[in-house]
Symmetry: C2
Subunit: 129 residues, 2 copies
């Protein structure tokens, strides 16, 4: 894998935390602020490579895939009100892995989605984000 200005920018943006669990489209918008010519196809191709090399994580809940710089074990609260994804630190891997072993499966990735309402939305009676 060679280096490219596009891929480096994409990685920097996702890692910067300026974007909260961005979709490919979100990343594309942000990338174009710095490099206007970058195509959506390039963003998708690079996000895939970055997931493959473990630099970032892909999070699939409902609708488009979101990307996450956080490589620690955690799960995602998908807020039904504002649509945001919030990281919830919780390591269930050992528990799940043990159960898998008991059933003879080889587990590689554990991916947990939680849907509900985030604390920010619970604390307000206003319109969602």
């Amino acid at each position: 894998m060679r280096t490219s200005r596009q891929r480096q920018l994409i990685l920097d943006l996702v890692r910067s935390r300026a974007l909260n669990h961005p979709t490919a489209q979100d990343v594309h918008d942000a990338v174009r602020d710095h490099m206007p010519g970058v195509s959506l196809g390039t963003v998708y191709r690079n996000l895939h490579q970055l997931v493959e090399t473990g630099e970032i994580m892909a999070v699939q809940s409902e609708g488009p895939v979101h990307y996450d710089w956080n490589r620690e074990p955690h799960l995602h609260l998908h807020c039904r009100r504002c649509g945001s994804l919030v990281d919830v630190p919780l390591d269930l891997e050992a528990t799940v892995r043990e159960q898998g072993r008991a059933l003879g499966h080889a587990l590689e990735e554990i991916d947990i989605h939680v849907r509900g309402t985030c604390s920010r939305c619970l604390g307000s009676t206003n319109k969602p984000q």
Copy 2:
């Protein structure tokens, strides 16, 4: 909600376990064996309604949504080799819910995906399903 021959057939098929975590397309194929004229749109509309009323569950992993008759707490092993989904009985809801409460979130749905290789594929050196 009225009854319709199409919806009843769809529910019976998903509940019959003849289909293993079928996608909408799988259900459509199976439905047409019994009622050739049924459209894919009708299958999608009915699967949504059945999820809404809690008769079946939707499972989102990678690619298309899969449907599951199993309403007990469990997680899904998505086999990377044969693509199958296998139920893994394990109730993590209490653990996850407690963590959510500590962070002030209101949790509604907990959805756990595990990717790896299922026992069936581990036990064979042959081509995937």
